[in-house]
């Protein structure tokens, strides 16, 4: 499977992006394989896979980046660049660098005649200006539709001693699931960067795949946890480099801290280099942190010390958790997030005795089914909206379900006046046992003090007609 994986997530079997309903019914229908492929006849914007491909590798310090597109496709670089810059600040770097991003700036003429000349020129400029070890080249909707053969151009422009040219095929229109862009990046890393002959095994080395939304504090916490079992971490690809990528093949094991990050790539590494991997959950909350830690410990043959450690940590944080639980128990929660964080948040709230009433998550697949079934066991029935955001459905559901708290991107639900909070914080600790305490305190504080949202709500200007709130939130989801 992995060797032929196209990088387009929805082409994997039993993967759904447009779906809504009660969790028990969805899980039952998925089990019976009778969910239908659907589409939204009305929808709001999405994140395209190119955004994920770029953010995935943008912090590679010895690289330059070429976006083969019109100027607008560099918009989201601002976010990735901010992450890279803040990341350097947190790591104590004084002379903070920006990522070197060059846009070929395809115009009408190029759309008609092809963008090859500009791409060659951009490759030359990137090499001359920065003498990078690697140049990542991102395709776009425009370059894809006009049919520029980026692989052939890169192969032809590749010189023996020059920067390694790495095309990443991430045309936005090819996938509705932005996480496909992560896969596209890893497919390119495998194809262009990994050595045919693996590096000599490095004892205790673990590949830790993490997207850029992971804070430095979280990185340190995860590295500390793995060090307890004598493991050292090859942290990829955030703050990575050519050399660290080569070392991927020297690792004894791989793991990821996001469900949709490097999952296919880790399968590849197992098949090509015999590196076993643990693909479990995002280590947020007690259950997930335990599960994540045991997953990687098992690979390293350290299950016994891991269990011992987990028990000790439970004892350490339990009094804190009990106190937080006293503040949050019984609160009804609506969660909206990316695949990793939405399920992580859903597991986390169980630590505090909160009740799930609604869950928005981008994709329903085999992986999601495992989580949904686990959550069904705790919360009985709740509403599932398989959507990457789609705020119009969200405000409809939140308005209807009237949860006590909303966890996720707050931009819309905050304006309904309820407390909002989030488990995503690329700049502060959220993972491991201390992360649980940090998040618990944050959630409790934000739930108790919703003054900002409550006072804002009467003045808020959400764009929807009143009649929309009376209708079925899923009315625009139609079977294909």
């Amino acid at each position: 499977m992995a060797t032929t994986y196209s990088g387009v997530r929805e082409l994997r079997p039993y993967t759904y992006n447009d779906l809504g309903g009660d969790s028990m019914r969805l899980a039952g229908n998925f089990e019976k394989k009778c969910l239908k492929s659907a589409d939204r006849t009305f929808s709001q914007g999405l994140q395209c896979q190119q955004i994920n491909s770029i953010s995935c590798v943008l912090s590679m310090s010895d690289s330059a980046f070429i976006i083969h597109s019109p100027q607008g496709c560099s918009g989201c670089v601002s976010g990735g660049a901010d992450g890279y810059r803040v990341g350097q600040a947190h790591r104590g770097v004084k002379l903070i660098k920006s990522p070197r991003v060059i846009v070929t700036n395809l115009d009408e003429n190029d759309i008609i005649r092809g963008g090859e000349a500009k791409l060659r020129e951009a490759i030359r400029i990137a090499g001359e200006r920065y003498d990078p070890k690697m140049i990542f080249i991102f395709t776009s909707c425009a370059s894809g539709i006009i049919g520029d053969d980026v692989d052939a151009i890169a192969a032809d422009a590749q010189t023996p001693d020059g920067p390694i040219l790495i095309p990443i095929h991430c045309d936005g229109f090819r996938s509705k699931i932005c996480a496909s862009g992560f896969d596209a990046a890893f497919i390119a890393i495998k194809k262009y960067l990994l050595p045919k002959e693996p590096r000599k095994k490095s004892s205790g080395l673990v590949n830790l795949f993490a997207p850029t939304s992971i804070s430095y504090k979280d990185q340190l916490e995860i590295e500390r946890l793995l060090a307890l079992f004598g493991a050292t971490v090859n942290y990829i690809p955030f703050y990575s480099s050519y050399e660290k990528i080569q070392m991927i093949t020297a690792a004894e094991a791989s793991t990821s801290i996001c469900k949709v990050f490097a999952d296919e790539f880790m399968k590849e590494l197992e098949e090509s280099y015999g590196i076993p991997f643990a693909h479990t959950v995002m280590p947020i909350g007690i259950r997930n942190t335990d599960k994540w830690l045991l997953g990687i410990a098992a690979l390293l043959g350290k299950e016994a010390p891991a269990r011992e450690y987990i028990e000790k940590e439970h004892k350490r944080v339990q009094p804190k958790l009990d106190e937080i639980k006293g503040r949050l128990e019984g609160k009804r929660v609506f969660i909206c997030g990316g695949t990793g964080r939405s399920f992580a948040a859903a597991a986390l709230i169980d630590d505090f005795g909160m009740q799930l009433v609604g869950l928005e998550t981008p994709t329903y697949d085999f992986d999601a089914q495992i989580d949904i079934e686990y959550l069904n066991g705790i919360h009985k029935n709740y509403v599932v909206d398989v959507a990457n955001m789609q705020p119009f459905e969200q405000v409809n559901l939140v308005n209807h379900l009237k949860p006590d708290v909303f966890i996720g991107v707050p931009a819309w639900s905050a304006r309904l006046g309820l407390p909002t909070t989030h488990v995503l914080d690329p700049k502060r600790p959220t993972m491991g046992y201390d992360g649980i305490v940090y998040l618990g305190e944050k959630i409790a504080e934000q739930v108790e003090n919703a003054g900002f949202n409550r006072k804002l709500a009467p003045y808020a200007r959400l764009p929807y007609k009143k009649s929309w709130y009376e209708q079925d939130a899923f009315k625009y989801i139609r079977d294909l």
Binding site: T41, F42, S43, Q44, G45, L46, Q47, C48, I51, S69, P70, Q71, G72, C73, S74, G75, C76, S78, G79, A81, D82, R85, L95, I96, K97, S98, V101, I102, V103, T104, N105, L106, D107, E108, I111, E121, I125, R129, S140, C141, A142, I145, I146, G172, F173, R174, S175, K176, C178, M389, Q390, P391, F392, A411, R461, P463, Y464, K465, W468, Y476
Partner: protein, 427 residues
């Protein structure tokens, strides 16, 4: 026409059009585009303009047909119709504009025909052809105004002598747009004028519709909206008055006020009184900080309008020394470059700085490194070179991604006080 560019300062026409639409109250943009265009344009424009997001529809809340392979192959017009139907049903808006991304532009979906069907039924749905490959967001700003003149603005029944249109500041792109428009509106208000900005004070599509009745268009940009100015003159009989940028400080704002007063033949006594009051307001503050501020040699890297504003203010009103100015917007017309250079070098007191034009981030950095200065007025992108050269950086121009900007600005009389506050450094 376009060239390869490192770290472009702006997105595409789609982003520029959307900046305008998302700042007019109760207007709904509908993206007929690939799935990521809404996020790319939002992150690249408002996301780097002081961190405010348009409140009504922005980023992933914008209706978007999210064209995939199926639409690329079979066409996306039916998907667009469904999308418009849904938007009309649930989004509470006075006007709906269909915008095209590269995908729809290349495959050639006919949004003019699709939207005409709705207008024929009396529904306010309008097309704006905006594939990203047409150009940058500055061009998008122009195209949005073009669409307003084509579809919205009505031929006036009568002229409103005290009504003016104030344009040239790009909302959700210029980080200080709201504060700048508010300060200029305040000053014009003191002259007895009512001001259409389209973007402040919850102005809506009706304000746009009635803007043909204005007595004057005031455009505070060295080159934006030439075509719109011509259209307003020819279609609606509204003349335009252009300033080189948003005025900063007593000298430029004085010129601004006198220029408007002359064009509208305002009462001299009123104008003189307002100018004296406003200038005194500034100088009464300046008087309290004499000697507190060290002399500095400064460089500027900003769009032409901002560069002219801050250079003239700091050099002529505040007596700092200009060293170099890099104009960063993509300017194609040589005569524009000459005029901008002229404006930046003909200073009242200060010796002229060295002027250059560069939009490519590498070229901007390398140019700055050639000059000697201790204060740099630029954007968040200049943070790196400021650290490298060990000089003070003040963010005055797009893109600003690491400072929050709400209603503050450096515009007009009051804004120059804010700029001076921000420039003070005890180091």
């Amino acid at each position: 026409m376009s060239y390869i560019i490192e770290n472009p300062r702006g997105t595409c026409v789609l982003g520029g059009v959307n900046n305008v639409l998302s700042a007019v109250t109760k207007v709904c943009p509908i993206y007929h585009s690939g799935p990521g265009c809404c996020m790319q344009t939002a992150a690249g424009e408002s996301g780097q303009a002081g961190l405010r997001a348009p409140y009504y529809l922005s980023n992933v809340s914008m209706p978007s047909s999210n064209m995939l392979e199926r639409e690329v192959v079979f066409g996306g017009e039916q998907k667009l119709r469904d999308e418009i139907d849904g938007a009309l049903e649930i989004i509470d808006a006075d006007a709906y504009f269909v915008l095209t991304g590269c995908t729809a532009g290349i495959i050639g979906d006919d949004i003019e025909a699709v939207t005409a069907d709705y207008r024929n039924c009396g529904l306010p749905v309008y097309p704006i052809t905006t594939p990203g490959f047409k150009g940058d967001s500055l061009l998008g700003y122009e195209i949005a105004f073009q669409a307003f003149t084509d579809f919205i603005v009505e031929i006036p029944n009568k002229r409103e002598g005290n009504l003016v249109n104030l344009w040239g500041v790009i909302p959700y792109h210029d980080p200080y747009w709201a504060g700048a428009l508010e300060e200029m509106t305040r000053i014009l208000g003191k002259l007895g004028l009512r001001v259409n900005t389209f973007f402040t004070e919850n102005q809506d599509i009706d304000v746009v519709r009635a803007s043909g009745a204005a007595a004057l268009n005031i455009i505070v940009s060295p080159y934006l909206l030439r075509k719109t100015a011509k259209n307003y003159e020819e279609k609606f009989g509204v003349p335009s008055l252009r300033f080189d940028g948003v005025p900063i400080g007593p000298t430029q704002t004085g010129e601004f006020v006198r220029g408007v007063a002359e064009a509208l033949k305002l009462d001299d006594d009123l104008v003189n009184r307002v100018l004296w009051e406003e200038s005194a307001y500034v100088y009464n503050y300046f008087e309290t900080i004499i000697g507190a501020f060290s002399w500095k040699r400064f460089a500027v890297a900003a769009d032409a309008g901002t560069a002219i504003g801050v250079t003239r203010f700091l050099a002529d009103d505040f007596s700092l020394t200009p060293s170099a100015v890099v104009v960063t917007d993509q300017i194609w017309d040589e005569s524009d470059k000459e005029r901008i250079t002229g404006r930046l070098t003909k200073l009242e007191y200060a010796r002229p700085p060295k002027i250059s034009f560069a939009s490519d981030h590498y070229e901007i950095r390398e140019e700055l490194k050639k000059h000697d200065f201790s204060l740099l007025l630029g954007s968040s992108l200049e943070d790196e070179v400021a650290r490298e050269l060990d000089v003070q950086l003040q963010r005055v121009a797009y893109p600003i991604s690491d400072v929050m900007v709400l209603n503050r600005s450096y515009a007009g009389f009051r804004g120059c006080l804010t700029l001076v506050e921000d420039l003070f450094s005890n180091l």
